[in-house]
């Protein structure tokens, strides 16, 4: 989950109880206020009625206990009752014609004295329908909740995206960064301290890695170059020695062992140089190469070796495969793969090359078990103890 959505999720979760709690509090506060103003209104009506009695005493006698004509009614009571009477407001239900249902009404009971008579006064007024109110409130608050969540999400997206922009910039660059490419990062400047810290740290780390990578590469290259001349001297001296002396068979054997070892050293050195050259991108000019034709040519070059091991190279080319690559590198790559298949393959078996549009595949029969995929391209990782194997062939292939 992205950081952005992560915070939004928590905000949304937190908002739900917050708004619910707020709604309950708000509902009761509002209800309290409504009751308060209803009760004030009822009390005011009582005063108005008392004033009307002076002009029209008939209202005292109307006997409308079901409140069918008026919203008030007077009932005579005894003096003792009048004295002990306590004003009250309460809720009750009454049948409403328009709603055809029982609806809550507020009833105000009070007692008045008119001359010597005492009356109990009841005034009613229609009340807020609580169930409707709750329903409405839930609906409105739910809308508010959604509105809030969406606006927060939107704001977050907008804001956080802007804030985290330098971070994403950095990540995008790091994702495609390859130390072999010798490219530096373009580190963005941010006015957020944490990002600046991250940027400078990453920058420092990469600079250091690149430096040591370059130093290592240079070292290998220099070491390989420096080895060429001593190797040449040794090999040539031995060759001169072989020519100029009548040597015994066992001496020849010893010398040939030394020659072989020097030969191996030379190959190793050449391979290392080749590897650093590829990594240094010292192979320029690329052109479109017909890999099918090249494969056939190289396979033909290996005919003698294959025949010697009683192996056969089959090239199945159903499609024309063309690729833009440096010709020398293409030759090295295909040579390496085909040679590997032959050298490490089982005698009297076949090496199968399949060329399709977009793929080049080679298969052989192994002498032992399946190769370890994880270390296949690691330098100096050898699957067998071939005395002439440098352990660099597949590293070179991978570099190409």
């Amino acid at each position: 989950m992205r950081l952005l959505n992560y915070t939004s999720k928590y905000v949304a979760i937190l908002l739900l109880p917050l708004i619910t709690g707020w709604a309950i509090l708000f509902y009761f506060a509002m209800l309290d206020e409504i009751y308060d103003s209803l009760d004030d209104g009822l009390e005011n009506q009582k005063f108005l009625l008392v004033q009307r009695i002076d002009n029209d005493t008939t209202i005292l006698k109307q006997n409308d206990s079901k409140f069918e004509k008026h919203t008030y009614n007077f009932t005579p009571i005894s003096k003792s009752s009048y004295l002990g009477f306590k004003e009250s407001y309460r809720d009750t239900l009454m049948y409403m014609l328009n709603e055809k249902d029982f609806e809550p009404v507020r009833v105000y009971e009070s007692a008045i004295a008119y001359g010597d008579d005492h009356y109990k006064l009841k005034i009613i007024t229609s009340m807020v329908e609580e169930d409707d109110l709750v329903e409405d409130m839930v609906l409105y608050l739910f809308c508010l909740y959604l509105l809030l969540v969406f606006s927060i999400l939107f704001m977050n997206n907008l804001l956080l995206r802007k804030i985290w922009q330098p971070f994403y910039d950095l990540i995008t660059q790091l994702r495609v960064f390859r130390i072999e490419d010798d490219a530096s990062l373009c580190i963005p400047n941010s006015n957020i301290e944490e990002f600046n810290l991250l940027n400078t740290t990453v920058d420092k780390l990469i600079r250091k890695s690149t430096e040591s990578y370059a130093a290592q590469k240079e070292f290998i290259e220099n070491a390989s170059h420096e080895l060429q001349t001593p190797l040449a001297i040794s090999i040539n001296k031995l060759e001169l020695f072989l020519e100029s002396n009548d040597l015994r068979e066992n001496q020849l054997e010893d010398l040939s062992t030394i020659m072989d070892s020097l030969g191996k050293l030379t190959r190793l050195n050449k391979s290392l140089l080749l590897l650093s050259k590829i990594e240094n991108k010292q192979f320029g000019k690329e052109e479109t190469i017909d890999l099918t034709k090249l494969t056939l040519d190289i396979a033909a070059d290996f005919k003698d070796l294959a025949a010697h091991k009683k192996m056969k190279i089959n090239v199945g080319s159903g499609a024309v495969l063309k690729h833009t690559i440096n010709i020398d590198l293409a030759i090295i790559l295909l040579t390496n793969l085909i040679k590997n298949a032959l050298v490490h393959g089982k005698r009297e078996e076949q090496v199968q090359i399949e060329i399709k549009t977009g793929s080049w595949e080679i298969r052989n029969f192994s002498l032992s078990q399946e190769l370890d995929r994880s270390s296949l391209f690691t330098r100096f990782k050898r699957s067998s103890n071939h005395k002439n194997s440098t352990g660099l062939g597949l590293s070179i292939s991978k570099a190409i």
Partner: protein, 223 residues
């Protein structure tokens, strides 16, 4: 034939000098930029072996100087740096060949011979050995005036051994020359043997013999 070796490493120089002198070339040597510069302006050589990694100057400058003086000496660049740029720069400047170190002496001879032949300093277009005549131009071989058919590899082996007729050619040198550099990582050079065997059959009527030297390589025996 006069050959100049420009090489700063003394041991390397001695090896090359010894080997070339056995072929009866007149070999001169220069081990620094200045001496080399003087020699190439004063004398003419048939072939110059030029190490471009001299401590006091770039060998390519010597090549430029040579060409600017209008000299036609054959030049083989010898370098410890098998670099594509140097190779291209050298060939662009008019070098005949580029030989990366380390190399086999047999290979050096083959390259020198090829340069000399190309420049026709030998005076003849064919190579004679025993009763065999090889024509490098159209790659034909005749035994006592009778043409024989050799495949590409058989021809290359014969030519290589012929050029190096006085010396022992190691299997490695032969394989690298005939089959190319890439062949050198195969587990053994035994596959050479089948080609040699075929070649021997075809050369039955000749006066030369391809002699195997135990475990090391081959030598041409002119009977």
């Amino acid at each position: 034939m006069k050959i100049l070796i420009i090489e700063d490493v003394p041991e390397m120089l001695i090896n090359m000098k010894n080997s070339l002198e056995r072929e009866h070339y007149i070999v001169e040597a220069a081990s620094d930029f200045e001496t080399a510069g003087d020699k190439i302006s004063i004398y003419d050589y048939d072939c110059i072996l030029l190490d471009i990694g001299l401590p006091d100057g770039n060998g390519l400058e010597l090549l430029k100087k040579l060409k600017s003086e209008g000299k036609n000496d054959g030049v083989i660049i010898v370098s410890a740096k098998d670099s594509l740029d140097d190779r291209l720069a050298g060939l662009d400047l008019g070098a005949d060949d580029y030989l990366p170190k380390p190399f086999h002496m047999a290979e050096l001879h083959a390259r020198v011979k090829a340069v000399l032949r190309r420049r026709n300093f030998d005076g003849s277009t064919v190579v004679e050995i025993g009763n065999i005549i090889i024509n490098p131009e159209n790659r034909t071989v005749k035994i006592a005036d009778e043409e024989i058919t050799l495949n590409r590899k058989e021809y290359d082996i014969l030519m290589y051994l012929t050029i190096n007729k006085t010396r022992l050619v190691t299997k490695t040198a032969l394989a690298e020359h005939v089959w190319g550099d890439h062949i050198d990582q195969t587990d053994s050079f035994d596959f050479i043997y089948s080609q040699i065997k075929n070649l021997r059959k075809k050369l039955k009527k000749s006066t030369i013999n391809l002699e195997a030297v135990y475990g090391v390589g081959y030598k041409l025996d002119v009977g």
